[in-house]
Protein backbone atom coordinates (compact mmCIF):
# COMPACT_ATOMS: atom_id res chain seq x y z
CA UNK A 1 0.00 0.00 0.00
CA UNK A 2 1.33 3.42 -0.91
CA UNK A 3 2.19 5.92 1.80
CA UNK A 4 -0.61 8.34 0.97
CA UNK A 5 -3.22 5.60 0.92
CA UNK A 6 -1.95 4.44 4.30
CA UNK A 7 -2.05 8.02 5.58
CA UNK A 8 -5.59 8.47 4.32
CA UNK A 9 -6.66 5.21 5.95
CA UNK A 10 -5.10 6.27 9.25
CA UNK A 11 -6.68 9.71 9.17
CA UNK A 12 -10.11 8.32 8.41
CA UNK A 13 -9.87 5.84 11.20
CA UNK A 14 -8.77 8.54 13.68
CA UNK A 15 -11.52 10.87 12.46
CA UNK A 16 -14.08 8.16 13.17
CA UNK A 17 -13.15 8.37 16.88
CA UNK A 18 -12.48 12.08 17.23
CA UNK A 19 -12.96 12.40 20.97
CA UNK A 20 -10.97 9.29 21.71
CA UNK A 21 -8.15 10.41 19.45
CA UNK A 22 -8.05 13.81 21.10
CA UNK A 23 -8.06 12.41 24.63
CA UNK A 24 -5.29 10.04 23.66
CA UNK A 25 -3.10 12.83 22.39
CA UNK A 26 -3.80 14.91 25.49
CA UNK A 27 -0.97 13.22 27.38
CA UNK A 28 1.51 14.12 24.67
CA UNK A 29 0.01 17.61 24.33
CA UNK A 30 0.43 18.37 28.02
CA UNK A 31 3.88 16.81 28.16
CA UNK A 32 5.21 18.70 25.17
CA UNK A 33 3.54 21.96 26.20
CA UNK A 34 5.07 21.87 29.66
CA UNK A 35 8.48 21.08 28.25
CA UNK A 36 8.19 24.02 25.83
CA UNK A 37 7.21 26.32 28.70
CA UNK A 38 9.97 25.04 30.96
CA UNK A 39 12.60 25.41 28.26
CA UNK A 40 11.45 28.98 27.63
CA UNK A 41 11.49 29.80 31.34
CA UNK A 42 14.91 28.22 31.67
CA UNK A 43 16.27 30.35 28.86
CA UNK A 44 14.58 33.37 30.42
CA UNK A 45 16.17 32.72 33.81
CA UNK A 46 19.56 32.18 32.22
CA UNK A 47 19.18 35.42 30.31
CA UNK A 48 18.19 37.26 33.49
CA UNK A 49 21.24 35.99 35.37
CA UNK A 50 23.45 36.84 32.46
CA UNK A 51 22.13 40.39 32.27
CA UNK A 52 22.56 40.74 36.02
CA UNK A 53 26.23 39.93 35.76
CA UNK A 54 26.70 41.58 32.40
CA UNK A 55 29.49 44.08 32.58
CA UNK A 56 31.32 42.02 35.15
CA UNK A 57 34.60 42.39 33.35
CA UNK A 58 37.38 39.88 33.36
CA UNK A 59 39.31 41.90 35.95
CA UNK A 60 36.33 42.50 38.21
CA UNK A 61 35.33 40.70 41.36
CA UNK A 62 32.15 40.85 43.34
CA UNK A 63 31.79 39.99 47.00
CA UNK A 64 28.54 38.39 48.10
CA UNK A 65 27.16 37.01 51.26
CA UNK A 66 26.17 33.38 50.90
CA UNK A 67 23.10 32.20 52.71
CA UNK A 68 24.32 29.38 54.88
CA UNK A 69 22.00 26.58 55.71
CA UNK A 70 22.83 25.35 59.19
CA UNK A 71 23.08 21.69 60.16
CA UNK A 72 19.61 21.78 61.61
CA UNK A 73 18.31 23.15 58.33
CA UNK A 74 17.74 26.70 59.50
CA UNK A 75 18.83 29.61 57.36
CA UNK A 76 21.53 31.45 59.23
CA UNK A 77 22.41 34.80 57.75
CA UNK A 78 26.06 35.59 58.12
CA UNK A 79 27.26 38.89 59.44
CA UNK A 80 26.40 41.48 56.77
CA UNK A 81 29.00 43.31 54.71
CA UNK A 82 28.81 46.93 55.74
CA UNK A 83 29.55 50.00 53.69
CA UNK A 84 32.54 50.82 55.84
CA UNK A 85 34.02 47.37 55.44
CA UNK A 86 33.52 47.47 51.70
CA UNK A 87 35.06 50.91 51.44
CA UNK A 88 38.06 49.67 53.35
CA UNK A 89 38.86 47.23 50.51
CA UNK A 90 40.25 50.19 48.62
CA UNK A 91 43.35 50.09 50.78
CA UNK A 92 44.24 46.53 49.79
CA UNK A 93 47.09 46.22 47.29
CA UNK A 94 46.37 45.69 43.58
CA UNK A 95 42.84 47.03 43.83
CA UNK A 96 42.09 49.86 41.41
CA UNK A 97 38.65 50.82 42.63
CA UNK A 98 35.74 49.59 44.71
CA UNK A 99 32.15 50.26 43.83
CA UNK A 100 29.69 49.84 46.65
CA UNK A 101 25.91 50.05 46.45
CA UNK A 102 22.79 48.81 48.13
CA UNK A 103 19.79 48.19 45.92
CA UNK A 104 16.17 47.82 46.91
CA UNK A 105 12.71 48.69 45.80
CA UNK A 106 10.28 51.16 47.18
CA UNK A 107 7.23 53.28 46.75
CA UNK A 108 7.87 56.90 45.95
CA UNK A 109 5.13 59.42 46.76
CA UNK A 110 4.69 63.10 46.15
CA UNK A 111 1.42 64.69 47.19
CA UNK A 112 -1.27 62.49 45.77
CA UNK A 113 0.91 61.02 43.03
CA UNK A 114 2.84 57.87 43.65
CA UNK A 115 5.03 55.32 41.86
CA UNK A 116 5.26 51.72 42.99
CA UNK A 117 8.32 49.54 42.64
CA UNK A 118 10.88 52.18 41.95
CA UNK A 119 14.45 50.96 42.11
CA UNK A 120 16.07 52.64 45.15
CA UNK A 121 19.84 52.59 45.02
CA UNK A 122 21.98 53.58 47.95
CA UNK A 123 25.38 54.73 46.66
CA UNK A 124 28.41 56.66 47.90
CA UNK A 125 29.13 60.21 46.75
CA UNK A 126 31.73 59.10 44.22
CA UNK A 127 29.26 56.77 42.45
CA UNK A 128 29.58 58.31 39.07
CA UNK A 129 33.04 59.74 39.38
CA UNK A 130 35.14 59.54 36.21
CA UNK A 131 32.33 58.04 34.09
CA UNK A 132 29.84 60.45 32.68
CA UNK A 133 30.33 64.18 33.15
CA UNK A 134 26.71 64.91 32.17
CA UNK A 135 25.25 62.25 34.46
CA UNK A 136 23.28 64.77 36.47
CA UNK A 137 21.07 66.80 34.13
CA UNK A 138 19.53 69.19 36.65
CA UNK A 139 20.83 70.11 40.11
CA UNK A 140 23.71 68.20 41.59
CA UNK A 141 24.77 64.86 43.06
CA UNK A 142 25.12 64.46 46.83
CA UNK A 143 28.50 64.92 48.41
CA UNK A 144 30.70 63.15 50.94
CA UNK A 145 29.13 65.13 53.82
CA UNK A 146 25.63 63.92 52.83
CA UNK A 147 26.89 60.35 53.03
CA UNK A 148 28.52 60.99 56.38
CA UNK A 149 25.39 62.68 57.75
CA UNK A 150 22.99 60.09 56.34
CA UNK A 151 21.23 63.00 54.73
CA UNK A 152 17.71 62.49 53.39
CA UNK A 153 18.55 63.70 49.92
CA UNK A 154 17.74 62.07 46.60
CA UNK A 155 18.80 62.23 42.98
CA UNK A 156 15.88 60.98 40.87
CA UNK A 157 15.70 59.34 37.45
CA UNK A 158 13.90 60.84 34.51
CA UNK A 159 10.83 58.62 34.79
CA UNK A 160 10.40 59.43 38.45
CA UNK A 161 10.83 63.15 37.79
CA UNK A 162 8.30 63.15 34.97
CA UNK A 163 5.71 61.19 36.92
CA UNK A 164 5.90 62.83 40.28
CA UNK A 165 7.24 66.29 39.54
CA UNK A 166 5.86 67.20 36.12
CA UNK A 167 6.19 70.72 34.77
CA UNK A 168 8.23 72.14 37.63
CA UNK A 169 11.80 72.28 38.74
CA UNK A 170 12.25 69.08 40.71
CA UNK A 171 15.21 70.40 42.61
CA UNK A 172 14.16 71.53 46.07
CA UNK A 173 10.95 69.51 46.06
CA UNK A 174 10.15 66.94 48.67
CA UNK A 175 9.27 63.30 48.00
CA UNK A 176 8.59 60.36 50.27
CA UNK A 177 10.34 57.06 49.82
CA UNK A 178 8.67 54.31 51.83
CA UNK A 179 7.12 57.08 53.98
CA UNK A 180 10.42 58.85 54.72
CA UNK A 181 10.86 62.40 53.47
CA UNK A 182 13.65 63.15 51.07
CA UNK A 183 14.77 66.38 49.43
CA UNK A 184 15.30 66.15 45.68
CA UNK A 185 18.63 67.71 44.82
CA UNK A 186 19.19 66.48 41.30
CA UNK A 187 17.81 64.70 38.24
CA UNK A 188 19.78 62.10 36.27
CA UNK A 189 19.87 62.50 32.49
CA UNK A 190 17.77 60.08 30.47
CA UNK A 191 19.55 56.71 30.35
CA UNK A 192 19.41 54.25 27.45
CA UNK A 193 17.32 51.13 27.73
CA UNK A 194 19.27 48.04 26.60
CA UNK A 195 16.69 45.66 28.09
CA UNK A 196 13.11 46.67 27.21
CA UNK A 197 11.80 45.00 30.35
CA UNK A 198 13.78 47.26 32.65
CA UNK A 199 13.50 51.04 32.80
CA UNK A 200 16.82 52.41 34.15
CA UNK A 201 15.19 55.82 34.56
CA UNK A 202 12.76 54.50 37.10
CA UNK A 203 15.22 54.85 39.93
CA UNK A 204 16.17 57.07 42.84
CA UNK A 205 19.72 57.39 44.15
CA UNK A 206 20.23 58.17 47.84
CA UNK A 207 23.30 58.15 50.09
CA UNK A 208 24.22 54.57 50.89
CA UNK A 209 24.41 55.28 54.59
CA UNK A 210 20.84 56.56 54.56
CA UNK A 211 19.77 53.48 52.67
CA UNK A 212 21.38 51.16 55.21
CA UNK A 213 20.31 53.00 58.32
CA UNK A 214 16.83 54.20 57.43
CA UNK A 215 15.43 52.30 54.46
CA UNK A 216 16.63 48.74 54.14
CA UNK A 217 17.90 47.87 57.56
CA UNK A 218 21.39 47.26 58.88
CA UNK A 219 21.29 43.50 58.41
CA UNK A 220 21.55 43.69 54.64
CA UNK A 221 24.89 43.35 52.95
CA UNK A 222 25.94 45.99 50.48
CA UNK A 223 26.96 44.80 47.03
CA UNK A 224 30.57 45.25 46.15
CA UNK A 225 32.38 45.33 42.85
CA UNK A 226 36.12 45.37 42.97
CA UNK A 227 38.24 46.41 40.03
CA UNK A 228 41.58 44.61 40.05
CA UNK A 229 44.53 46.44 38.54
CA UNK A 230 45.79 43.46 36.64
CA UNK A 231 43.94 40.37 35.59
CA UNK A 232 46.83 38.14 36.68
CA UNK A 233 46.33 39.28 40.25
CA UNK A 234 42.75 38.07 40.46
CA UNK A 235 43.57 35.00 42.56
CA UNK A 236 45.82 36.94 44.93
CA UNK A 237 43.20 39.67 45.37
CA UNK A 238 40.50 37.06 45.94
CA UNK A 239 42.54 35.64 48.78
CA UNK A 240 43.30 39.09 50.14
CA UNK A 241 39.61 40.00 50.20
CA UNK A 242 38.78 36.78 52.00
CA UNK A 243 41.36 37.32 54.71
CA UNK A 244 40.26 40.97 54.99
CA UNK A 245 36.74 39.83 55.85
CA UNK A 246 38.03 37.03 58.07
CA UNK A 247 39.65 39.70 60.19
CA UNK A 248 36.77 42.17 59.95
CA UNK A 249 34.21 39.55 60.92
CA UNK A 250 36.36 37.81 63.54
CA UNK A 251 36.23 34.40 61.90
CA UNK A 252 38.56 31.90 63.58
CA UNK A 253 41.04 30.22 61.23
CA UNK A 254 39.35 26.82 61.52
CA UNK A 255 36.09 28.11 60.07
CA UNK A 256 35.11 29.21 56.63
CA UNK A 257 34.98 32.89 55.95
CA UNK A 258 31.44 34.21 55.59
CA UNK A 259 31.77 35.92 52.23
CA UNK A 260 32.24 34.63 48.73
CA UNK A 261 34.31 36.34 46.10
CA UNK A 262 33.10 35.86 42.57
CA UNK A 263 34.83 36.64 39.32
CA UNK A 264 33.48 36.32 35.82
CA UNK A 265 34.94 32.81 35.83
CA UNK A 266 33.00 31.72 38.90
CA UNK A 267 29.80 33.31 37.66
CA UNK A 268 30.07 31.42 34.41
CA UNK A 269 30.74 28.20 36.23
CA UNK A 270 27.83 28.69 38.63
CA UNK A 271 25.61 29.53 35.72
CA UNK A 272 26.66 26.43 33.85
CA UNK A 273 26.06 24.28 36.89
CA UNK A 274 22.59 25.75 37.34
CA UNK A 275 21.83 25.26 33.66
CA UNK A 276 23.00 21.64 33.80
CA UNK A 277 20.82 20.93 36.84
CA UNK A 278 17.88 22.53 35.15
CA UNK A 279 18.47 20.62 31.93
CA UNK A 280 18.58 17.36 33.85
CA UNK A 281 15.31 18.22 35.56
CA UNK A 282 13.80 19.09 32.24
CA UNK A 283 14.90 15.88 30.57
CA UNK A 284 13.46 13.93 33.49
CA UNK A 285 10.15 15.72 33.20
CA UNK A 286 10.07 15.27 29.44
CA UNK A 287 10.86 11.58 29.66
CA UNK A 288 8.21 10.93 32.30
CA UNK A 289 5.48 12.87 30.54
CA UNK A 290 6.26 11.38 27.16
CA UNK A 291 6.29 7.86 28.55
CA UNK A 292 2.89 8.55 30.06
CA UNK A 293 1.67 9.96 26.75
CA UNK A 294 3.19 7.07 24.84
CA UNK A 295 1.54 4.48 27.05
CA UNK A 296 -1.78 6.21 26.41
CA UNK A 297 -1.21 5.90 22.69
CA UNK A 298 -0.14 2.28 22.96
CA UNK A 299 -3.23 1.49 25.00
CA UNK A 300 -5.61 3.05 22.52
CA UNK A 301 -3.83 1.40 19.60
CA UNK A 302 -4.23 -1.99 21.27
CA UNK A 303 -7.93 -1.31 21.70
CA UNK A 304 -8.12 -0.20 18.10
CA UNK A 305 -6.40 -3.37 16.87
CA UNK A 306 -8.85 -5.50 18.81
CA UNK A 307 -11.82 -3.55 17.51
CA UNK A 308 -10.60 -3.90 13.97
CA UNK A 309 -9.60 -7.54 14.04
CA UNK A 310 -12.05 -8.31 11.24
CA UNK A 311 -10.78 -5.41 9.19
CA UNK A 312 -7.26 -6.85 9.46
CA UNK A 313 -8.58 -10.24 8.34
CA UNK A 314 -10.31 -8.67 5.34
CA UNK A 315 -7.24 -6.69 4.35
CA UNK A 316 -5.03 -9.77 4.52
CA UNK A 317 -7.60 -11.77 2.53
CA UNK A 318 -7.58 -9.21 -0.28
CA UNK A 319 -3.79 -9.17 -0.47
CA UNK A 320 -2.26 -7.00 2.27
CA UNK A 321 1.23 -8.04 3.30
CA UNK A 322 2.21 -8.11 6.98
CA UNK A 323 4.26 -5.02 6.30
CA UNK A 324 1.18 -3.16 4.99
CA UNK A 325 -0.67 -3.89 8.23
CA UNK A 326 2.28 -2.78 10.37
CA UNK A 327 2.65 0.43 8.40
CA UNK A 328 -1.07 1.19 8.58
CA UNK A 329 -1.23 0.98 12.37
CA UNK A 330 2.14 2.62 12.84
CA UNK A 331 1.09 5.62 10.78
CA UNK A 332 -2.00 5.86 12.93
CA UNK A 333 0.05 5.89 16.14
CA UNK A 334 2.53 8.38 14.74
CA UNK A 335 -0.29 10.65 13.55
CA UNK A 336 -1.63 10.65 17.09
CA UNK A 337 1.70 11.44 18.72
CA UNK A 338 2.81 13.92 16.09
CA UNK A 339 -0.41 15.91 16.18
CA UNK A 340 -0.16 15.79 19.97
CA UNK A 341 3.37 17.14 19.71
CA UNK A 342 2.38 19.99 17.41
CA UNK A 343 -0.67 20.89 19.48
CA UNK A 344 1.57 20.76 22.55
CA UNK A 345 4.03 23.19 20.96
CA UNK A 346 1.15 25.53 20.11
CA UNK A 347 -0.35 25.23 23.60
CA UNK A 348 3.04 25.87 25.18
CA UNK A 349 3.75 28.93 23.08
CA UNK A 350 0.27 30.32 23.63
CA UNK A 351 0.42 29.84 27.39
CA UNK A 352 3.74 31.63 27.87
CA UNK A 353 2.39 35.21 27.60
CA UNK A 354 -0.37 34.59 30.13
CA UNK A 355 2.13 32.93 32.45
CA UNK A 356 4.61 35.81 32.34
CA UNK A 357 1.87 38.40 32.71
CA UNK A 358 0.53 36.52 35.72
CA UNK A 359 3.92 36.67 37.36
CA UNK A 360 5.86 39.58 35.87
CA UNK A 361 9.15 38.52 37.41
CA UNK A 362 9.21 35.47 35.15
CA UNK A 363 11.14 35.87 31.96
CA UNK A 364 10.58 33.47 29.10
CA UNK A 365 12.66 33.22 25.97
CA UNK A 366 11.33 31.00 23.18
CA UNK A 367 13.80 29.33 20.89
CA UNK A 368 12.62 28.14 17.50
CA UNK A 369 14.65 24.93 17.85
CA UNK A 370 12.14 23.60 20.36
CA UNK A 371 9.58 23.16 17.57
CA UNK A 372 11.52 20.65 15.43
CA UNK A 373 12.88 19.05 18.60
CA UNK A 374 9.41 18.48 19.99
CA UNK A 375 8.21 17.15 16.63
CA UNK A 376 11.04 14.65 16.35
CA UNK A 377 10.53 13.45 19.91
CA UNK A 378 6.78 13.09 19.30
CA UNK A 379 7.50 11.13 16.14
CA UNK A 380 9.78 8.78 18.05
CA UNK A 381 7.18 8.33 20.78
CA UNK A 382 4.64 7.30 18.14
CA UNK A 383 7.02 4.80 16.57
CA UNK A 384 8.22 3.31 19.86
CA UNK A 385 4.79 2.94 21.43
CA UNK A 386 2.93 2.18 18.20
CA UNK A 387 5.23 -0.61 17.10
CA UNK A 388 3.99 -3.31 19.45
CA UNK A 389 0.26 -2.88 18.65
CA UNK A 390 1.06 -2.66 14.93
CA UNK A 391 3.16 -5.82 14.94
CA UNK A 392 0.50 -7.55 16.96
CA UNK A 393 -2.12 -6.61 14.36
CA UNK A 394 0.07 -7.94 11.57
CA UNK A 395 0.52 -11.28 13.35
CA UNK A 396 -3.20 -11.97 13.64
CA UNK A 397 -4.24 -15.23 12.03
CA UNK A 398 -6.41 -14.04 9.13
CA UNK A 399 -8.88 -16.92 9.38
CA UNK A 400 -9.43 -16.32 13.09
CA UNK A 401 -9.69 -12.61 12.35
CA UNK A 402 -12.37 -13.19 9.74
CA UNK A 403 -14.34 -15.38 12.16
CA UNK A 404 -13.97 -12.78 14.94
CA UNK A 405 -17.26 -11.22 16.00
Amino acid sequence: MGFFDALQTAMESLARNKLRSFLTTLGVIIGVASVIVMVALGHGAEEAVRSQFRGLGSNELTVVQPIRVGVEGSVRPARPITFEEARGLKDLPSIASVKVSLAGGGKVVRGRESLDSVSILGVPADWNIDQDPNYVAVGEFFGEYDVEDRARVAVVGKTVAEHLLPGENPVGQEIRINRLRFLVIGVIRELGRPDPRVDPNNQVLIPITTATADLFGKDRSVSVRVQVRNEREIDAVTEAIESYFREAHDIPPDRQVDVEVFGAREVTRAQQEAAATFALLLVGMAVVSLIVGGIGIMNVMLVSVTERTREVGVRVAVGARQRDIVVQFLIEAVSLSLSGGLLGVAAGILSIPSLTSYKPGLAAVLTWQSIPQASIVALLVGIVFGLYPAVRASRLDPVDALRYE
Binding site: D5, R16, V314, G319, A320, R321, R323, P398, L402
Partner: protein
Protein backbone atom coordinates in the same frame (compact mmCIF):
# COMPACT_ATOMS: atom_id res chain seq x y z
CA UNK B 1 -7.27 -20.60 -22.52
CA UNK B 2 -8.18 -23.81 -20.81
CA UNK B 3 -6.53 -25.89 -18.18
CA UNK B 4 -6.36 -26.53 -14.51
CA UNK B 5 -6.49 -23.68 -12.11
CA UNK B 6 -6.62 -25.67 -8.90
CA UNK B 7 -4.59 -28.84 -8.62
CA UNK B 8 -4.48 -30.21 -5.09
CA UNK B 9 -3.17 -33.56 -3.94
CA UNK B 10 -3.42 -35.05 -0.48
CA UNK B 11 -4.04 -31.74 1.25
CA UNK B 12 -4.23 -32.14 5.02
CA UNK B 13 -4.67 -29.89 7.99
CA UNK B 14 -4.09 -30.82 11.58
CA UNK B 15 -5.06 -28.38 14.28
CA UNK B 16 -3.34 -28.94 17.57
CA UNK B 17 -5.63 -28.48 20.53
CA UNK B 18 -3.63 -29.01 23.68
CA UNK B 19 -2.25 -32.53 23.37
CA UNK B 20 -4.95 -33.51 20.87
CA UNK B 21 -4.49 -33.34 17.12
CA UNK B 22 -7.73 -32.38 15.42
CA UNK B 23 -7.69 -33.31 11.74
CA UNK B 24 -9.79 -30.71 9.94
CA UNK B 25 -8.82 -31.93 6.51
CA UNK B 26 -7.61 -35.40 5.46
CA UNK B 27 -5.85 -36.02 2.18
CA UNK B 28 -8.12 -33.90 0.03
CA UNK B 29 -7.46 -34.21 -3.66
CA UNK B 30 -9.25 -32.11 -6.22
CA UNK B 31 -8.78 -30.19 -9.39
CA UNK B 32 -10.81 -27.34 -10.79
CA UNK B 33 -10.72 -26.24 -14.41
CA UNK B 34 -10.95 -22.82 -15.84
CA UNK B 35 -14.61 -21.95 -16.42
CA UNK B 36 -15.82 -24.42 -13.80
CA UNK B 37 -18.24 -23.70 -10.97
CA UNK B 38 -17.75 -26.21 -8.16
CA UNK B 39 -19.71 -26.53 -4.91
CA UNK B 40 -18.65 -28.11 -1.68
CA UNK B 41 -21.34 -29.38 0.66
CA UNK B 42 -21.25 -31.07 3.98
CA UNK B 43 -22.28 -30.87 7.62
CA UNK B 44 -21.08 -28.19 9.94
CA UNK B 45 -17.53 -28.69 11.13
CA UNK B 46 -16.65 -31.05 8.32
CA UNK B 47 -13.80 -28.86 7.10
CA UNK B 48 -15.33 -26.99 4.15
CA UNK B 49 -14.13 -23.56 5.17
CA UNK B 50 -10.71 -24.94 6.04
CA UNK B 51 -10.36 -26.32 2.52
CA UNK B 52 -11.64 -23.13 0.95
CA UNK B 53 -9.26 -20.91 2.91
CA UNK B 54 -6.45 -23.28 2.03
CA UNK B 55 -7.27 -22.87 -1.65
CA UNK B 56 -7.15 -19.12 -0.97
CA UNK B 57 -3.70 -19.36 0.64
CA UNK B 58 -5.00 -18.11 3.99
CA UNK B 59 -4.35 -21.46 5.66
CA UNK B 60 -1.13 -23.38 5.24
CA UNK B 61 -1.61 -27.12 4.71
CA UNK B 62 0.22 -29.46 7.08
CA UNK B 63 0.60 -31.93 4.23
CA UNK B 64 0.05 -32.31 0.50
CA UNK B 65 0.71 -30.22 -2.56
CA UNK B 66 -1.32 -27.36 -3.92
CA UNK B 67 -0.66 -25.92 -7.33
CA UNK B 68 -2.43 -22.77 -8.42
CA UNK B 69 -2.22 -22.28 -12.18
CA UNK B 70 0.55 -24.85 -12.17
CA UNK B 71 2.63 -23.08 -9.51
CA UNK B 72 3.28 -24.71 -6.15
CA UNK B 73 2.06 -22.16 -3.66
CA UNK B 74 2.54 -24.17 -0.45
CA UNK B 75 6.16 -23.18 0.02
CA UNK B 76 6.00 -19.47 -0.69
CA UNK B 77 7.19 -16.73 1.64
CA UNK B 78 4.66 -14.46 3.34
CA UNK B 79 4.99 -11.62 0.88
CA UNK B 80 4.72 -13.96 -2.10
CA UNK B 81 1.58 -15.54 -0.68
CA UNK B 82 0.12 -12.08 -0.17
CA UNK B 83 0.96 -11.32 -3.77
CA UNK B 84 -0.90 -14.47 -4.91
CA UNK B 85 -3.94 -13.61 -2.79
CA UNK B 86 -3.86 -10.07 -4.06
CA UNK B 87 -3.85 -10.73 -7.78
CA UNK B 88 -5.07 -14.32 -8.35
CA UNK B 89 -7.78 -14.86 -5.75
CA UNK B 90 -11.07 -13.23 -4.82
CA UNK B 91 -12.97 -14.03 -1.62
CA UNK B 92 -16.70 -13.76 -0.96
CA UNK B 93 -17.91 -14.36 2.60
CA UNK B 94 -21.18 -15.26 4.24
CA UNK B 95 -21.30 -12.06 6.28
CA UNK B 96 -19.94 -9.88 3.44
CA UNK B 97 -17.01 -8.50 5.47
CA UNK B 98 -17.23 -5.03 4.01
CA UNK B 99 -15.40 -2.31 5.95
CA UNK B 100 -18.18 -0.30 7.61
CA UNK B 101 -16.43 3.06 7.42
CA UNK B 102 -15.88 3.04 3.67
CA UNK B 103 -18.28 3.72 0.81
CA UNK B 104 -19.22 0.89 -1.56
CA UNK B 105 -16.78 2.24 -4.11
CA UNK B 106 -13.90 2.48 -1.62
CA UNK B 107 -14.65 -1.06 -0.40
CA UNK B 108 -14.39 -2.32 -3.96
CA UNK B 109 -11.12 -0.44 -4.41
CA UNK B 110 -9.57 -2.08 -1.35
CA UNK B 111 -7.70 -4.97 -3.05
CA UNK B 112 -6.11 -2.59 -5.55
CA UNK B 113 -4.54 -0.57 -2.69
CA UNK B 114 -2.20 -3.51 -2.30
CA UNK B 115 -1.51 -3.75 -6.00
CA UNK B 116 -0.40 -0.21 -6.64
CA UNK B 117 -2.60 1.23 -9.32
CA UNK B 118 -3.21 4.96 -9.68
CA UNK B 119 -6.09 6.47 -7.83
CA UNK B 120 -7.88 7.29 -11.05
CA UNK B 121 -7.58 3.75 -12.43
CA UNK B 122 -8.85 2.36 -9.15
CA UNK B 123 -11.85 4.59 -9.04
CA UNK B 124 -12.81 3.96 -12.62
CA UNK B 125 -12.53 0.20 -12.31
CA UNK B 126 -14.46 0.12 -9.03
CA UNK B 127 -17.22 2.18 -10.60
CA UNK B 128 -17.42 -0.11 -13.64
CA UNK B 129 -17.51 -3.22 -11.45
CA UNK B 130 -20.28 -1.79 -9.30
CA UNK B 131 -22.23 -0.93 -12.44
CA UNK B 132 -21.69 -4.44 -13.66
CA UNK B 133 -23.20 -5.98 -10.49
CA UNK B 134 -26.13 -3.59 -10.82
CA UNK B 135 -25.11 -1.04 -8.16
CA UNK B 136 -24.14 1.91 -10.37
CA UNK B 137 -26.38 4.10 -8.23
CA UNK B 138 -24.93 3.04 -4.88
CA UNK B 139 -21.29 4.11 -5.23
CA UNK B 140 -21.30 6.40 -2.21
CA UNK B 141 -23.40 4.23 0.11
CA UNK B 142 -21.89 2.82 3.26
CA UNK B 143 -22.36 -0.91 3.95
CA UNK B 144 -24.88 -0.03 6.67
CA UNK B 145 -27.05 1.65 4.07
CA UNK B 146 -27.18 -1.39 1.81
CA UNK B 147 -29.47 -4.43 1.83
CA UNK B 148 -27.91 -7.88 2.28
CA UNK B 149 -28.13 -8.66 -1.44
CA UNK B 150 -26.58 -5.32 -2.32
CA UNK B 151 -23.80 -5.79 0.22
CA UNK B 152 -22.96 -9.19 -1.24
CA UNK B 153 -22.84 -7.66 -4.73
CA UNK B 154 -20.39 -5.07 -3.46
CA UNK B 155 -18.33 -7.90 -1.98
CA UNK B 156 -18.36 -9.71 -5.34
CA UNK B 157 -17.28 -6.53 -7.11
CA UNK B 158 -14.45 -6.28 -4.57
CA UNK B 159 -13.44 -9.89 -5.28
CA UNK B 160 -13.20 -8.97 -8.97
CA UNK B 161 -11.15 -5.83 -8.44
CA UNK B 162 -7.75 -7.31 -9.25
CA UNK B 163 -9.18 -9.65 -11.91
CA UNK B 164 -8.54 -12.99 -10.16
CA UNK B 165 -8.60 -16.45 -11.73
CA UNK B 166 -10.12 -18.14 -8.69
CA UNK B 167 -13.14 -16.96 -6.76
CA UNK B 168 -13.80 -18.61 -3.41
CA UNK B 169 -17.21 -18.11 -1.84
CA UNK B 170 -17.94 -19.38 1.67
CA UNK B 171 -21.71 -19.72 2.02
CA UNK B 172 -22.34 -16.50 0.08
CA UNK B 173 -26.10 -16.99 0.29
CA UNK B 174 -26.16 -17.93 3.96
CA UNK B 175 -27.40 -14.55 5.12
CA UNK B 176 -29.79 -13.92 2.23
CA UNK B 177 -33.37 -14.88 1.42
CA UNK B 178 -33.74 -17.52 -1.30
CA UNK B 179 -34.60 -15.13 -4.14
CA UNK B 180 -31.66 -12.84 -3.44
CA UNK B 181 -29.44 -15.85 -2.88
CA UNK B 182 -30.29 -17.18 -6.31
CA UNK B 183 -29.41 -13.83 -7.88
CA UNK B 184 -26.02 -13.94 -6.20
CA UNK B 185 -25.39 -17.51 -7.38
CA UNK B 186 -26.41 -16.52 -10.91
CA UNK B 187 -23.84 -13.75 -10.75
CA UNK B 188 -21.15 -16.19 -9.59
CA UNK B 189 -22.14 -18.54 -12.40
CA UNK B 190 -21.57 -15.71 -14.89
CA UNK B 191 -18.13 -15.07 -13.42
CA UNK B 192 -17.16 -18.72 -13.77
CA UNK B 193 -18.02 -18.58 -17.44
CA UNK B 194 -15.48 -15.77 -17.96
CA UNK B 195 -12.34 -17.88 -17.89
CA UNK B 196 -12.33 -18.15 -14.13
CA UNK B 197 -12.98 -20.90 -11.66
CA UNK B 198 -15.44 -20.51 -8.80
CA UNK B 199 -15.48 -22.71 -5.72
CA UNK B 200 -18.43 -22.21 -3.40
CA UNK B 201 -19.42 -23.72 -0.09
CA UNK B 202 -23.16 -23.97 0.42
CA UNK B 203 -25.73 -25.80 2.50
CA UNK B 204 -28.42 -25.38 -0.16
CA UNK B 205 -28.69 -28.61 -2.17
CA UNK B 206 -31.04 -27.08 -4.70
CA UNK B 207 -28.62 -24.29 -5.52
CA UNK B 208 -25.77 -26.74 -5.73
CA UNK B 209 -27.69 -29.07 -8.04
CA UNK B 210 -29.17 -26.42 -10.32
CA UNK B 211 -26.46 -23.91 -10.80
CA UNK B 212 -23.13 -25.56 -10.51
CA UNK B 213 -21.11 -27.95 -12.61
CA UNK B 214 -19.97 -30.31 -9.91
CA UNK B 215 -20.80 -30.98 -6.28
CA UNK B 216 -18.21 -32.26 -3.81
CA UNK B 217 -19.16 -33.61 -0.42
CA UNK B 218 -17.26 -33.39 2.76
CA UNK B 219 -17.54 -35.36 5.94
CA UNK B 220 -15.14 -35.34 8.86
CA UNK B 221 -12.44 -33.75 6.82
CA UNK B 222 -12.69 -36.20 3.95
CA UNK B 223 -13.55 -34.88 0.49
CA UNK B 224 -15.65 -37.07 -1.80
CA UNK B 225 -16.67 -36.59 -5.38
CA UNK B 226 -20.38 -36.83 -6.32
Amino acid sequence: MSGEIVEAQGLSKLYRKGRLDVPALRLATLSVQRGEFVTIMGPSGSGKSTLLYMLGCLVQPTGGVYRLEGRDVTRLRGDEVAQVRCSRIGFVFQSFHLLPGLSAQRNVELPSLYKGRTRFERRERARKLLERVGLGGRLGHRPGELSGGEAQRVAIARALMNDPVLILADEPTGNLDSVTGREIVALLRQLSEEERAVVMVTHDAEIAGHWTDRVLHMRDGVLMEG
